[in-house]
């Protein structure tokens, strides 16, 4: 792709070569519709993106953003609709066609292979002989050109998430695409890394006149990084704005479809600024902190994974009754291991866990639950519930004693307990016998929470409690977590979303590489410093 000699004075690159009246948009989608069974993922969508701009695609989880972009990259075939690239109609039947048209996408979840080196990953899928020297040169060249420094010889599994993101970008950019699509690229990045990413995107559009589509559900990012924004809700486009002409409130309203409270705006749609302003007004909730009983104490925990890599390296923390401790950190720094530890799924090499002053044996099946630790795990499908059993059974599984007579279950007790919890926790289900799999994500999450709270826990661990939920469910979870703390339960909130932590936590600890690297109270929060700690820099 020849880089156009930039005149460097025009504010838009297209203006310089304006021989044609209005240039055709780089991408124009019209009438795109895609159904999955009864779900309409995209509903008569029109999207128009000009060359050289960063175009934001904003919407809640499930709005259809990823599906729309997969249609553009040939991974999903639309049921109907038209795709125009630079003014010409095209049919993108598979990813190869998309690549031929200069379309390249970084997916929401990375597709790198951990055991392989960076240069191997970058040339993965290449046909024919790949020569090592030139592959390494390629990585360095592309890296230099865009400011994406990464050592081509390191194994991907040893990289931080920020570095992995760079490898993904290099993998895309080396093909010199005209159109670069990024699907929620910042969900695994620290603030600083996100800002670095945005400056790379800026360079790509300004200097090389490429086009970028940036998918996000975070308002902050959209406001920061884009020129234009298209907002989707339930599969349909509901608004188009010039970024400069809009603000957080309006974006939030369009995205959710109604006014949202300041609190929800904070955690649900990622308006960090709004939250930071609030800090001044944050309640000094720490008055009696010192006197409150310690409910959970983890001391110097060390643990190793199956592949012999360290998961926890001397992690220590305490949570008091009635407080919410927010554990911030970039994904993959030991949060999952801590969640597993408190779910009796992980054994310790060294260190102790105490609940209400009593030591609990780590890794012994059911021990944490018996000691009074309730857990709403990060991935509810992995250890939170059993999808193939019924709703009532899922509500009972940790406390079979309550629904059994001797060694047999009492169907009547099983049912009445389920009915009680369903109404108490507002679970939307046709009845207690429905298979867990058939509930929506938000309701599955409610079931897990209901079961854990029904056991009257001393400590409640909630990991990524709102991931993948819609705004209504997010509001619900937020409120329940707050109530749990008010009732005196010690709450440990593990989240990679800083906004969520700032909304809920009384005290914040930062986890990095399996250990706590810093702590601060809600009132002392300094986002810069938090960001640096999350990125592993001493602060």
């Amino acid at each position: 792709m020849s880089t156009r000699p930039s005149t460097d004075n025009g504010d838009t690159a297209t203006a310089g070569t304006a021989a044609t009246a209005a240039p055709a948009p780089a991408v124009e989608l019209t009438g795109i519709t895609k159904r999955f069974g009864t779900v309409v993922a995209c509903d008569d969508v029109r999207l128009s993106v000009q060359r050289g701009e960063i175009h934001g695609l904003l919407g809640q989880n499930g709005a259809g953003k990823s599906t729309l972009m997969k249609i553009l990259t040939g991974l999903v075939r639309p049921d109907s609709g038209q795709i125009m690239i630079d003014g010409g109609e095209v049919s993108i039947s598979d990813p190869l066609v998309a690549a031929g048209l200069g379309i390249s996408m970084v997916h929401q979840h990375f597709s790198l292979i951990g055991r392989m080196r960076v240069w191997e990953n970058v040339t993965l899928g290449e046909r024919g002989h790949v020569d090592r020297a030139s592959a390494r040169r390629l990585v360095t060249e592309v890296g230099d050109r865009y400011g994406l420094a990464v050592d081509p010889d390191r194994a991907v599994e040893d990289l931080t998430t920020g570095e992995r993101q760079r490898v993904e970008l290099i993998k895309c950019l080396r093909r010199d695409p005209d159109l670069l699509i990024l699907d929620e690229p910042t969900s695994v990045l620290t603030l600083k890394e996100s800002h670095e990413l945005f400056s790379v995107l800026r360079r790509v559009t300004k200097e090389e006149n490429k086009t970028v589509i940036l998918i996000s559900h975070k308002l902050d990012e959209i406001l920061h990084a884009t020129d234009q924004v298209t907002i989707m809700r339930s599969g349909a486009v509901v608004a188009r704005r010039r970024t400069a002409d809009t603000d957080v409130r309006e974006l939030a309203r369009e995205m959710v479809g109604r006014e949202v409270s300041r609190l929800t705006a904070g955690s649900a749609v990622g308006a960090l600024d709004a939250l930071v302003e609030d800090i001044g007004a944050a309640k000094e909730a720490k008055e009696e902190d010192e006197e409150r009983e310690v409910r959970l104490r983890v001391t110097d925990a060390h643990a190793t994974g199956r592949d012999r890599r360290p998961l926890l390296r001397g992690l220590s923390l305490t949570v008091h009754a009635g407080e919410i401790l927010g554990l911030a950190g970039v994904e993959g720094n030991g949060q999952a291991a801590l969640g597993d530890l408190l779910s009796s799924l992980l054994e310790l090499d060294k260190g102790t866990v105490e609940v209400c002053g009593k030591a609990v044996r780590a890794g012994r099946p059911g021990a944490m639950h018996a000691a009074g630790v309730g857990v709403v795990p990060e991935d509810r499908h992995v250890s939170g519930c059993v999808l193939d059993m019924s709703l009532a059974e899922n509500l009972a599984m940790a406390d079979l004693g309550e629904v059994a007579r001797g060694s047999f279950l009492s169907p009547r007790r099983l049912r009445s307990r389920a009915e009680r919890l369903i109404s108490e926790f507002d679970i939307a289900a046709p009845g207690p016998d429905i298979q867990m799999r058939r509930l929506s994500g938000g309701n599955q999450q409610k079931v897990v929470l209901a079961r854990e709270l029904a056991a009257d826990p001393k400590v409640l661990v909630v990991a990524q409690p709102t991931r993948g939920l819609d705004v209504g469910a997010i509001e619900y979870m937020t409120e329940r977590i707050q109530k749990a703390a008010e009732s005196g339960i010690a709450v440990l909130l593990i989240s990679t979303e800083l906004e969520e932590i700032l909304t809920l936590a009384h005290r914040i600890a930062v986890i990095h590489r399996g250990a706590i690297v810093g702590e601060m109270t809600r009132a002392e929060v300094d986002v810069e410093r938090l960001g640096m700690m999350m990125g592993g820099q001493a602060a």
């Binding site: 997969k70 997916h107 979840h109 009796s344 193939d388 079979l400």
Partner: protein
Amino acid sequence: MTALTTRLPRMVKPAALHTLLLYVASFAVALTLAGALVTLTGKSMSETAYALYQGSLEGGGSIGLSIDEATPLLLVALGAIVCARAGIFNIGQEGQLLMGAMAGAVVGLFMPGPGWMVMVGSLLGAALGGALWAGIPAVMYYWRGVNVVIGTLLMVFVAAQLAMYVVTQENLLQEDGEAGARSPQSNLLAEGVMLPRVGEYPDLNVTSGVFVVLAATVAIVLLLRHSTWGFRLRMLGHNPAAARRSGVRATVLGGGALLISGAFAGMAGGIMLSGTIGRFQPGMADNVGWEGLLVALVARNHPVAAIPVALFFGGLRAGGGFLASTGVPRYLVSVVTALLVMAAVFPAAYAELSKLRKRNKPVVVEG
């Protein structure tokens, strides 16, 4: 295509229709192939089919034989079902059954006491022998992480060797007699040690082992569905992580399921020993262990559904035996019954495989 698949659900349950079609198609293919084969070798298809029917269903004698064949199959299948519910795949029933029969023979031949007591002892011994044989791979798994499928499979071959060894050593189980005239098999059990046969009719009578097996079926159904043990077992099978969090100890529960399954297979061997064959022979397992696994597969791990499936498989075994006795070459009988077995298994296996494929789909590009 998409229009069709979205419109269908309102008319019929597509899954049920799909399964039915699959069964029809798979039996049609099997019957065509079997017919072609029979005709090619110069036999008449209708005569062959009639012989199969005669051997399995015509008259009390044949029906009794079918039931006798179905009895151990069902028992093996029940054990396999318990294991499968716990998410463990025991495929070594053929060996566990043989070792059960061997243990049953040892007790039956050498235990002193009144006949009925020896009989009960022999059955219990058989169950214990099977459990022990399944216990070895269980220990290998929970201690050393040796895959259960591989462990149980390996033990099948060890069992076959061991069985052959004990019946060729005169100081072990080999029958008494002149030095050159001994066969590799044990002595016959005493008359009083054999399971009584029930049924007044001159022709329809079955081994009383049937009642043991039916009682076991009822027990398993109740326990799986209504006991806390069954609840925990299902939880373990569906989601080991969630089970562990709720206090289920996989070693105890999963290992226990493996032992139960082994005991059932062993008991099947014991029933074959004292119910029909009367003595221990190294070849007596005769694929009952493998076919019992297939019964569980076709019944999709439902104990009640396993009853008719076991009867179908038992009928095929009885019919095949009769067919062979009419002079049709043994290999042809094997191929024809194997085709019918495959026809019954294919839809279930297909469903199982596509379930696996769905589960293993990469999620790399998920939004």
